[in-house]
């Protein structure tokens, strides 16, 4: 059984929020950090508690810490040394592995997220602006009275119109793959893969390979905890629309091109099931909108190009060991909506997302290093992920087609990484242990 009373809600639940705010914090002393954390504890909800009170709650809060943050809270060196190397190094040191080079290099990241002083993150999700403002005022007050706690930067996030389904600034529907974990009470939607062992995402439980091994110590800190990769990805909406206009003469051609880059129509309808034209009813039906595979249904990529975003991020039955590379995704869009008929306004907008997993190196970093940025993925030779890959204008995107394929050379970068960090997401008991300075709890 999974201890649903101890795991932070965000791992297994999605908050029904329209807005949010991320605060990036630094602690000048362990005492300061513990005082702040002690005051935060009452706001945090377990998976179970959140499920019970979700109807009446108006906001949901999560906290996580960098490796430097755990040290700043006073975790001893012996314990710190038991954390995995990639987490100890942090996302900035892993830039080359992740493809964060050129315009996406961490030296361009703002808000203090790339420096060693980043210690903690608070994620607030709220039903509306008023609730967010109330929370923010209370949090500002807490920071003001917690001497030695500093807010390095903040990011406001929020859904963009139309509000009836989740989508990014390019207009692609999101949150379509719903993986499910044994013992969580959830079932995967058709096509979302088998039920997965909890240890793939939550520390202290068996994973797809067997019993847990090499957990951070002490046990109270590791149990019911997880790792979380933060990515702030700017979306260049003007450039994206320009590209579609340049390569598609009619609105239908432009929609098809957008669908080919993603592997789904912007409505969310999968190309494998709707290869010729969009099917909004299919897109909105969770029993059908993820129910497809590639090996038999589309081996050569005539529906979903071999390098399309969803074929890279979840190769389904065309990759080995898929159950060891799955990830839980959370997050939201940030920045102002750019209406369809508006020209690029130069404002920053994008997605500020989180990947949750038990092993950053085997899950998140593998996906970045191999699926996103390996030019030879699927034998393509000179391509990276057309949406989130590191694009420098020298790479291609190939659309298999009869009688001859279409190859678009010199694909522009539609996104740029503007920030990121690795966080440890402790369970609630672990958080109390941290707040108490590592004292044994009764």
């Amino acid at each position: 059984m999974i201890d649903l009373d101890d795991i932070q809600y965000i791992l297994l639940n999605r908050a029904p929020a329209l807005v949010g705010r991320y605060e990036f914090l630094s602690f000048r002393s362990a005492a300061a950090g513990r005082t702040w954390l002690s005051a935060m504890l009452e706001q945090l909800r377990s998976v179970q508690a959140m499920r019970e009170s979700v109807e009446q709650d108006r906001r949901w809060v999560t906290v996580g810490f960098t490796w430097n943050g755990l040290r700043a809270l006073g975790v001893d060196e012996a314990s710190l040394a038991t954390f995995p190397e990639e987490f100890r190094q942090g996302m900035v040191a892993r830039a080359e592995i992740l493809g964060d080079t050129g315009a996406s290099h961490p030296e361009t990241w703002e808000g203090g997220v790339a420096g060693p002083d980043l210690h903690a993150i608070v994620l607030l999700f709220a039903r509306d602006d008023d609730e967010r403002a109330r929370w923010q005022a209370a949090h500002d007050e807490l920071v003001a009275r917690s001497e030695g706690v500093e807010v390095l930067s903040s990011l406001e996030v929020g859904a963009i119109p139309p509000f009836d389904y989740a989508h990014d600034h390019f207009g692609y529907r999101d949150q379509l793959t719903a993986l499910a974990i044994e013992g969580s009470g959830e079932q995967p939607t058709p096509g979302s893969g088998p039920l997965l062992k909890p240890g793939e995402f939550i520390l202290g439980y068996p994973d797809e390979d067997g019993p847990p091994t090499r957990l951070p110590q002490p046990e109270i800190l590791a149990r019911n905890s997880s790792f979380m990769a933060y990515r702030r990805l700017q979306e260049h909406v003007g450039k994206f629309r320009e590209f579609l206009a340049q390569h598609g003469e009619t609105p239908e051609q432009r929609e098809l091109l957008a669908a080919k880059l993603m592997g789904r129509w912007r409505s969310g309808a999968p190309l494998v099931l709707a290869p010729e034209q969009d099917d909004p009813a299919l897109a909105a039906d969770p029993q059908r909108n993820n129910d497809f595979n590639y090996a038999k249904d589309d081996p050569l990529g005539y529906a979903v190009p071999l390098g399309a975003h969803i074929r890279r991020m979840n190769p389904r039955d065309t990759a080995a060991n898929m159950s060891r590379h799955r990830m839980i995704r959370r997050g939201a869009t940030y920045g102002p909506h750019l209406p369809d008929d508006a020209p690029e306004d130069g404002q920053e907008r994008g997605v500020a997302a989180f990947v949750l997993c038990a092993s950053l190196i085997r899950q998140f970093e593998f996906a970045q290093n191999v699926w996103t940025n390996d030019k030879d993925f699927n034998e393509l030779g000179n391509e990276r992920d057309p949406i989130i890959g590191n694009q420098d204008g020298t790479l291609d995107f190939t659309i298999p087609k009869r009688p001859i394929r279409k190859k678009i050379a010199g694909l522009p970068a539609f996104t740029t990484v503007r920030g990121g960090a690795y966080f440890f997401l402790p369970g609630l008991k672990a958080l109390r242990w941290l707040a108490a300075g590592g004292e044994e709890l009764p």
């Binding site: 190397e85 990639e86 080359e96 592995i97 390979d209 067997g210 091994t213 090499r214 080995a320 060991n321 060891r324 190196i361 085997r362 970093e365 593998f366 290093n369 191999v370 390996d374 030879d376 034998e379």
Partner: protein
Amino acid sequence: MTDKDKRPEWSVPAAMAIPEGGYFEDKVDVGRYGPTFPKTPACYGFTIIAKLIPGREEHVREHGRLLAQTVTDAPDSLEVLKLHYLRWVLFDIKSETYFMYQGIFDTDFDKYTEDAVALFSKYGIDTVFENLEGFPADWKTNPASFVQFVRDHQCPSFLEYGEYPYVSADEIKKALRVKAALSEMLDQMQ
């Protein structure tokens, strides 16, 4: 432009002299488990040499027979490894027996480390490695320790040559499929 420049890369045989240690210092690619060895005209590869635990020679030979049977029964068993060739050799130096694992493959091993470890475990290739001195006991759950063993026992080439450089096994298979299809078409036109 010379005639050679116009020819496709695969048609111009190429050789690469590799510095001692196996890396070109000015362009070392960093993978998830550390620096990765460069791709050469002979693609990626390993030459791992390690001392056999005394008395285990017959175990290893038996495993060779087992693996041959595995591939006969399921020809795509090793597909994940993107291999061209594997050569397994046992040889003696003085009174000690050594094992050499030489593989030529198309993808930087670092990329698929965990998948390879899972595959080795599934098909019992691990039982060969477990007969080697110094093989980490926790290799199944600790890919980093497996990578470290491979690094410690890798003997990098100082020269690699390709008659048809940088061509992947998949490309060769594709070319042969096209040739077979063309041949069949010509036969049908008789």
